[in-house]
Symmetry: C2
DNA sequence: TGCATTCGGTAACATATGTTATCGCCCGGC
DNA sequence: GCCGGGCGATAACATATGTTACCGAATGCA
């Protein structure tokens, strides 16, 4: 994560450098649990290589909320923010290289940077983007059929469809894996 | 909106006072369109009395995204932020009293206040809460049946069910109004 | 008062989606 | 090379949900 910010905000590079040493690099196989549902999130994660999903277990049904790929950062946001048990699990999908930044260091970093107007603007912008992301997802559920949502995914975020096993995508779209399979074959016939 | 902030942040009251005069008070009947889909959002709205919905038209189908009541502020966020055509309409549900603050004044106010650490923290907190709100909505679509979502609404935000016509609630829950009626009668039988 | 409009309930039918089960393919470990 | 697990397709059936149509109550307005 810090590498990423360093590229974007070189003028703040002294800050980034100071915290680089606190990051822990992990090289893990697929299906590695980085944070378990019910535990308090104590790290911010940054994906250098591979991919990761945010998910949860609902009465034995595995549901995926979001996918993360190279150069994306994540945490179980609500848990991280409020020190509450995480509603979600964070788990690798592919063999991955991940950096962990412990919460206390990120908090310190944020405090230091709260004096920097550039940084504040960036934080607000990032926060606004996330808000819009989830809002768009929400609106899509109200507006679109599962078939349309799948087509949106294919056209707007094809890397997800290419790299992620289909049953994860099914739960992300809010349908059963059987039905996603039907959707795909229906779309194939249409051409 | 400014009244509201003044209560919460009395230490910043000189700021609020300065902008109070720019607010325009409107008293409007039900079903008044405050912002039309496709136009650029130029105001921030604050509901003093009544209620308002954020909605859009999807091939002739009316869909509701969110409800707002007394002492809540809103705008078509993406349009307001990026000066793009609004994806949404803002419309009163009940006869309402609404305050409008033109965008340029809100922008000025934000610029002035960007020096105030308290204000920044508040903005980030508000933004985080909105993000969590939409994320919870999104997760609910993945996790819950329409019946469960209706029950959540009844138990967590009963004022919505009490004050808002049912067909708006149906589209907000992502079902047809006929099906919401079925859900209600099924729940009534269960007791 | 009378009338149109809005709103909510219900029925009947069509379609979408879930569930369970089975099959085949591919791939990694041994 | 063999084997088991993960993955995806498909079928058959059950259930959920949409669509259209109709009715009646409540409401606001002429």
């Amino acid at each position: 994560m810090l590498f990423h910010f360093k590229d974007k905000f070189p003028q703040l590079s002294t800050y980034w450098d100071k915290y680089l040493e606190f990051q822990q690099r992990m090289e893990v196989p697929a299906k590695t649990v980085l944070l378990e549902e019910g535990k308090v999130s104590g790290h911010y994660f940054f994906v250098e290589k591979g991919c990761v999903r945010l998910c949860f277990n609902n009465n034995g049904n595995d549901k995926t909320v979001q996918f993360f790929f190279e150069n994306e950062g994540l945490t179980s946001f609500e848990s991280f923010l409020k020190n509450t048990p995480s509603l979600f699990t964070i788990e690798t999908i592919e063999p991955s290289v991940v950096y962990l930044l412990p919460k206390k260091h990120l908090t310190n970093l944020m405090d230091e940077l709260s004096q920097e107007p550039d940084f504040i603007k960036m934080m607000l912008a990032i926060s606004a983007e996330r808000q819009l992301h989830y809002m768009h997802e929400f609106v899509s559920f109200i507006r679109d059929t599962p078939e349309q949502r799948y087509q949106n995914l294919v056209s707007e975020r094809p890397h997800i469809v290419q790299r992620v096993p289909q049953h994860y995508i099914a739960s992300y779209l809010g349908v059963s894996r059987v039905h996603l399979s039907r959707i795909k074959s229906a779309l194939a016939k249409k051409r």
